[in-house]
Amino acid sequence: MSPRVGHVITSGNTREAADVVSPLLSVSNLHKTYGSGPSAFEALKGLDLDIAEGESIAIIGKSGSGKSTLMHLLALLDRPTSGSIMLDGTDTSRLSAKQLNQTRNSAFGFVFQQFFLNAQASVLDNVTLPLKIAGVGRRERTAQGIAALAQLEIDDKAGNRANDLSGGQKQRVVIARALINQPRVIFADEPTGNLDTATGAVVEDILFDLNRRRGINLVVVTHDEELASRCDRRIYIRDGLIAAREAVAA
């Protein structure tokens, strides 16, 4: 294992100058084909993309254009049919299943359109799930869980069942869960898709605040132009290819 991967796994608020030179994530000629034979479907047809440290990026496109497919590949949830994904300069196709698991666990946070909360479990248990998976002890988990909930101003709900929360509160819990392992990247697939406009705006504020203040990369899949416009960069996807790239003229 190269020392760079070690750096990924230990996550980091420490960013050295050397890292800024090579992009955090670098994708080239990415292909993804679902199925095989006559029913094979080519969802991504050769994509190139670099994401720099601390950047927020929006992936925009119509339904079925391949946004989620791209995000899953970037988040190392799936392997591409061909093409490479470099993370911190390391070719991720060379990582073992265990290394992939560790990387996702320590360096990535996930926010989905659906909350995927365990309805019966307490808010605290839901938030600390990534730490439990990482093998952190109960006491430490509770302390970090409360801190993460406090950041999102819902620590008073820690003992409630997740089911008893409103949609906005649930999405805060989901963000707290995505934050708890101090990730370098938060992947958000339609994070506001299930929320009303006002609540959605609050969740957006939280995400961009994290990006700005803590330097956490944001990869947001959306078809909401308003949300996309707040990102540093927008990638438009059509039929598995990048149709347009656009940087914000800030």
């Binding site: 949830l77 990387t103 659906q114 995927f116 439990k132 990482a134």
Partner: protein, 426 residues
């Protein structure tokens, strides 16, 4: 994920769907309950037999008979003037032991002493010219200890005739209480070889509890047994009086089972069959073990059915938690841990079901023992259903193993699940 977290999560998950889990636990309960009870029955009866052997305290004595010389054939057996009726199945005969045989046995290496058994048929017992009652005289085994209500064991070396009388004779013979009976004299009658009825007296030294050993018979000391035998054989030709159905051989037990077997082999070489009390009871134990095995078979079938219940329960759980599993995998949980989570959940269900089943069986056993204590009063000391820790642990661990096996299929499905397809929506 840490081991403790895997365990506690699996435990919590097992009870997330309470009704479903309870029903599966119930199915396992029934199987484990039945298995524990049938096991307990075997343990109880065999323990009773073992205890009986132990209380006899005669593991240094074996019964020796003369081996039949001819091989059993289908046709009618040839007449042998030395054959006498043997106890056992009607018509069964054994070749009698002569005084020469007794000498031969005494000369065999490892035999400490040999005593021909002199069986006597007592016509009646009577006290003070009262009513006459039939009485059987129990096989006398040196070293035998009988459970007594009062008094003492017969004194082997006493010069006066003594006997231990079964408790059931105390009242009919008008001996007063069991304690009063001790020290009183009773009259015993036998018919001699000439057909004449003769009597002799003996002192009651003890009153016996009913039990398997005495089979409701009186136990004489050596003097009384010899006297009754002499009376019975008076007037018989000598050839008759020196023929015995069997003999008791004392031997040294310090050599263990192998030495005992070696002695049995030497006896066999000399044309005799030696069997210890354990050998004789071993047959009964084997039959009981066989019956218990069949009963256990039914219980195991019930457990296998319960195991299929576990498979079903877990498949439903995997189905329900598809997204949860997908999310945990996305967050870096390894497939191995996912497998552990579900298979441990199955083992937890098995553990709860079998633990409750065993507890239930112990409770039911207590009830049955209470009832059977009254019904089987003739067998004091019998605990019909007994539990030994090894048997109980075997049932619990066995059920947990079945549960684990049942859990593997659903757990494998969960472990192989693709996180993306679980997390996809639209």
């Amino acid at each position: 994920m840490r081991g403790v977290d895997v365990l506690s999560t699996a435990f919590k998950n097992a009870f997330r769907s309470r009704l479903r889990t309870s029903l599966t636990v119930l199915a396992i309960f029934i199987g484990a309950f039945t298995l524990s009870l049938t096991n307990g029955l075997g343990t109880g009866i065999n323990q009773y037999i073992d205890d009986t052997v132990a209380s006899v305290g005669v593991d240094d004595v074996m019964t020796v008979t003369k081996a039949s010389e001819e091989e059993p054939t289908d046709g009618p057996a040839e007449y042998d003037p030395n054959q006498i009726a043997a106890d056992g199945a009607p018509g069964a005969t054994a070749t009698a032991l002569t005084d020469d045989d007794i000498d031969t046995i005494a000369g065999i290496d490892g035999v400490e002493s040999v005593e021909p058994s002199k069986s006597v048929m007592v016509d009646y017992v009577r006290h003070d010219d009262g009513t006459r009652y039939q009485l059987s005289v129990a096989e006398f085994v040196p070293g035998m200890r009988i459970e007594l209500v009062s008094g003492e064991q017969v004194d082997l070396d006493a010069s006066d005739p003594e006997l231990v009388l079964p408790e059931s004779y105390v009242e009919p013979l008008d001996l007063g209480s069991a304690a009063d009976a001790v020290g009183q004299t009773v009259v015993l009658a036998v018919t001699d070889a000439t057909g004449e009825q003769v009597t002799t007296e003996a002192t009651v030294v003890g009153v016996a509890e009913p039990g398997v050993l005495t089979m409701g018979g009186a136990v004489p000391n050596d003097v009384l047994a010899a006297e009754l035998y002499d009376l019975q054989t008076t007037g018989a030709p000598e050839a008759e009086t020196t023929r015995y159905a069997e003999a008791s051989v004392s031997f040294d037990t310090s050599g263990g089972a192998t030495q005992t077997e070696a002695l049995q082999d030497r006896l066999a070489d000399a044309g005799f069959t030696g069997s210890t009390l354990e050998d004789q009871l071993g047959t009964i134990t084997a039959v009981i073990d066989g019956i218990v095995l069949v009963l256990n078979g039914f219980a195991v079938i019930a457990l296998v059915a319960a195991g299929i219940g576990i498979v079903n329960t877990l498949f439903m759980a995997v189905q329900e938690r598809t997204r949860e599993v997908g999310l945990m995998k996305a967050m870096g949980l390894s497939s191995g841990r996912v497998f552990s989570l579900f298979s441990i959940e199955a083992v937890v269900i098995g553990l709860v079901g079998s633990a409750l089943g065993v507890l239930g069986a112990v409770g039911a056993g207590q009830l049955v023992n209470g009832v059977s204590g009254d019904l089987l009063a003739d067998l004091p000391g019998l605990t019909l259903i007994a539990f030994d820790p090894v048997g109980v642990a075997t049932v619990v661990l066995g059920v947990m193993a079945i549960a684990f096996l049942a859990g593997t299929l659903p757990a494998l499905r969960a472990a192989r699940q693709d996180p993306i397809s679980s997390l996809r929506y639209e």
